[in-house]
């Protein structure tokens, strides 16, 4: 059986979990078995609809303590579900929760782990999973050599397909210890799209000359329902918050569409964005290295080009 961890934040399932569920269901079909899910904490979402994403059963531990994240308690709870259900493969989304829990579970179960997976496992000769390495500049094919296997799937790596099936929701009975971590505040930037999960990302660099010009980025992002990002120098000089920094030492992202405005495309920046499906570069320097990695580009002044782009997008959105 393939078990997928469904991640919730403040009672709502995260988008990347639906992708992980579809991936788990496809792995299960590949292995001739079925996929089930585990969800920790209290949620108001309709869990039977997780069946839409291919899981047959959802094991829930609806304990208030688990509504807040604690990697230690989550690991213990998931390990119990793994043991009881005899899951062979456990799938996480490689988001902040997955990155904290999957390694713990790997150590607890002595189950080989691949984080940052971007494809289905190759089971023709053992169990090999492709993952990004060197911050997106290359891929490694990793053999998992243990009976139990854990995969943490990079967000936006797998196509989500939906059916009308529903899943059976079953409470999993277990005791939960007190958490050793007290969550004293959650500060979310509301109304913005989460960068790692975004389909479209609009990003700005030093070419925009100052934070007062960021309206060009945010306006286009709002029209497209996109997340905003920036290059490292921009975060370093505090034009934008550092959680928007994409690149080798920032966040690595893989949206469907990445629009870079006034970013030259240093190798470290490319490392964080080169898994984007379509890259658009707007830069006045025709020699900017980013054009070599781009699918579409305009050599031109962002301050002249962007208002026209924004208007053109607005027209299309108005008629859609």
């Amino acid at each position: 059986m393939v078990l997928v961890f469904i991640d919730q934040s403040e009672g709502h399932i995260k988008k990347s979990s639906f992708e992980a569920a579809c991936y788990a269901a496809t792995v299960a079909a590949q292995l001739g078995t079925s996929a089930e899910a585990v969800l920790l904490g209290v949620t108001s979402d309709n869990l039977s609809s997780l069946g839409n994403y291919g899981v047959k059963k959802v094991h829930t531990i609806a304990n208030e303590t688990l509504t807040n994240f604690d990697a230690q308690l989550y690991t213990k709870a998931i390990a119990q579900v793994v043991e009881t259900t005899n899951a062979d493969v456990i799938v996480f989304s490689n988001n902040t929760t997955g990155k904290a829990v999957a390694p713990r579970l790997s150590a607890k179960l002595k189950a080989g782990l691949v984080t940052g997976a971007i494809a289905l496992p190759d089971t023709s000769n053992g169990f090999t999973v492709k993952k990004t390495v060197f911050s997106g500049k290359a891929f490694a094919n990793i053999n998992i050599n243990t009976p139990k296997k854990i995969i943490a799937l990079n967000p936006n790596s797998f196509n989500v397909s939906i059916t009308t099936d529903t899943a059976e929701v079953v409470p999993f009975n277990t005791s939960v210890d007190a958490s050793k971590i007290v969550v004293s505040a959650i500060n979310k930037v509301t109304g913005e799209v989460s960068l790692s999960e975004a389909d479209i990302v609009v990003s700005g660099g030093r070419g925009l000359k100052g934070p007062e010009n960021w309206g060009l980025v945010t306006e286009l992002a709002t029209l497209l329902g996109a997340a905003t990002a920036c290059s490292r120098p921009v975060a370093d000089i505090h034009w934008r918050p550092h959680h928007e920094h994409v690149g080798q030492t920032g966040l690595a992202i893989a949206p469907n569409l990445y629009i870079a405005i006034g970013i030259s495309g240093a190798i470290q920046h490319l490392a964080g964005v080169n898994r984007s499906k379509i890259i658009v570069v707007i830069n006045k320097d025709p020699e900017a290295p980013f054009f070599k990695a781009a699918d579409y580009g305009i050599v031109g002044d962002a301050f002249e080009v962007m208002p026209k782009i924004i208007e053109a997008v607005r027209k299309i959105k108005a008629t859609a």
């Binding site: 490694a140 094919n141 990793i142 004293s184």
Partner: protein, 247 residues
């Protein structure tokens, strides 16, 4: 308070990424090696700041690797720290590395173990969580701030679309990222002092190896950019909408 900071060696961020031996090994020839930036700029520098604020703090560094790693360890010691431990092992499976570090952390009774959020080569983001599990300690990952008062830590960590403030009591394992501290450059006094700081070499313990690298691939080369005239940016929007169907 005893702090253990885990240091990894990685290729420089500008290093050319290529593979040898039928794409089974990283082509290391001519590559400049650095301390993994997350380990250095954030984990190590924050630990040094804690020691500067409280001289009673004992700060040790640990690295798992062969003798080629010693220049990197000395560079870390030049930034700060009392002594370093190198576990003499070539194995790169993350569980095996974590098991080596956990054994030292347990024996040394460290109150705080810092790692970087991930290494910039294998991007595993695994060692911190594995160490925490092997030590049965709480783990806070992707920390952007860390403050301590007595035994009580306040840690801000990154979550999707924001930040969360956590409070926990030592002992604790924390993985660190941007925000924790500012990059430092070692000064001459530090570099001279690092030469005489203890660098203990220890043999690895027996531990499982759960995974192995079968091969590497490089991403496919892009077909080339389609340039649109700056006079007609509307055409770019049309292409993205109708040809690429990107929105």
């Amino acid at each position: 308070m005893k702090i253990l900071v885990c240091i990894s060696k990685t290729p420089d961020t500008t290093a050319k990424i290529a593979f040898a031996d039928n794409n089974t090994k990283f082509a290391a020839e001519g590559v400049q090696w650095i301390i993994n930036p997350y380990d250095e700029w954030y984990a190590l520098v924050r630990a040094i700041e804690l020691k500067e604020a409280n001289p009673a703090v004992v700060l040790h560094l640990i690295n798992v690797g062969n003798a080629d790693n010693e220049p990197i360890i000395r560079k870390a010691l030049a930034l700060g720290g009392d002594e370093a431990i190198r576990i003499n092992s070539e194995i790169s499976d993350s569980f095996n590395v974590a098991a080596q570090i956990a054994a030292i952390a347990k024996e040394g009774n460290y109150d705080l173990v810092f790692t970087g959020k991930e290494t910039i080569d294998y991007n595993g983001s695994s060692i911190g969580g594995m160490i925490a599990e092997l030590l049965d300690l709480p783990f806070i990952s992707h920390a952007v701030t860390f403050d301590i008062e007595g035994n009580n830590a306040t840690v801000t960590r990154e979550i999707e679309g924001g930040e969360e403030v956590d409070k926990a009591t030592l002992p604790l394992v924390v993985s660190c990222q941007k925000g924790m501290a500012e990059q430092r450059i070692p000064n001459m006094k530090g570099i001279m002092g690092a030469r005489t700081k203890p660098l203990k070499v220890m043999e690895p313990i027996a531990a499982d190896i759960l995974t192995s690298i079968a091969s590497f691939d490089l991403p496919p080369v892009k077909a080339g950019v389609k340039l649109v005239s700056a006079e007609n940016p509307e055409e770019l929007v049309r292409l993205l909408h109708e040809e690429a169907k990107a929105f």
